[in-house]
Amino acid sequence: MGGKCPSRKVKKRRFSHKTARRDKFLLKGDDLVYDELQKSDTEKKPLPRDEDLPGMGQYYCLHCDRYFANATVRDEHFKTKRHKKRLKQMSGPAPHTQLDAELAAGMGMPDNGPALMSM
């Protein structure tokens, strides 16, 4: 995964950086972001304070899953093309799920059997 590290001083044979790989893995997927956006305002929890994140994790863009140092930086981000593209994408149809793939294959709705406990 990944090419050679451009820094001449890096003498390790592993080419791509571990942190880059980890950060890519930790990013939220499109369908998760879409689900969060569909939630109503009452269900939204306040952002937890995290010292490792920029701006203590308080200034967050939901569409792009990014943290910012302060409110001005976040508001500047809202004007960028990338963010606007994400907004447009998230306002469109729901992203593809495993259920969609199964329905496209010609299966019916999944059978979960009769309800065990009536809540």
Partner: protein, 168 residues
């Protein structure tokens, strides 16, 4: 053992094939081959990639609604093993599969028929546009300028008598 469907192209993933990717939130993505896996990593939307089942269904290339689709379902509750049930199910699978594939190929054949549907559409549109040119059949009959006048020819008795000696 379970035959899963590929997340990207919706084809069946048989045991020993493909890759299963488990994401951070414990969501599982199954791929039938590296082609689908690589397309997923590129973040391509299956609904926009022409060769996937999702695209074909969405754009009406394949059959979308049919009663045979209700037979194949994912069962999340285990069934107690019953030999008769298993035997009947296997027979039914074969039959239902044949019916479904026949209907699907008919659908594609009808879709690929050139000319007839297009001509019907064009004719319909032409009729809608030129409806003012068409006259009702009653009006046509009453209007003398549009149809030829009817001439009545009398067959007289004298003429028939003259023919008889010629026939002899």
């Amino acid at each position: 053992m379970r035959l899963e469907k590929c997340w990207f192209c919706s084809s069946t993933v048989y045991p020993g094939h493909g890759i299963k990717f488990v994401r951070n939130d414990a969501k599982i993505f199954r791929f039938c081959r590296s082609k689908c896996h690589k397309n997923f990593k590129m973040k391509r939307n299956p609904c926009k990639v022409k060769w996937t089942k999702a695209y074909r269904r969405l754009h009406g290339k394949d059959m979308t609604q049919d009663s045979t689709f209700e037979f194949e379902r994912k069962r999340n509750r285990p069934e107690r093993y019953d030999r008769n049930l298993a035997e009947n199910t296997l027979k039914a699978i074969k039959k239902i599969d044949k019916i479904r594939s026949d209907r699907a190929s008919d659908h594609i054949k009808n879709r690929l028929k050139t000319g007839k549907v297009q001509r019907q559409k064009e004719a319909r549109k032409q009729l809608e546009l030129g409806i003012h040119l068409v006259k009702a059949s009653l009006a046509l009959a009453q209007d003398s300028s549009l149809c030829l006048p009817k001439i009545k020819v009398n067959v007289s008795q004298a003429q028939t008598e003259e023919n008889q000696p010629m026939e002899e």
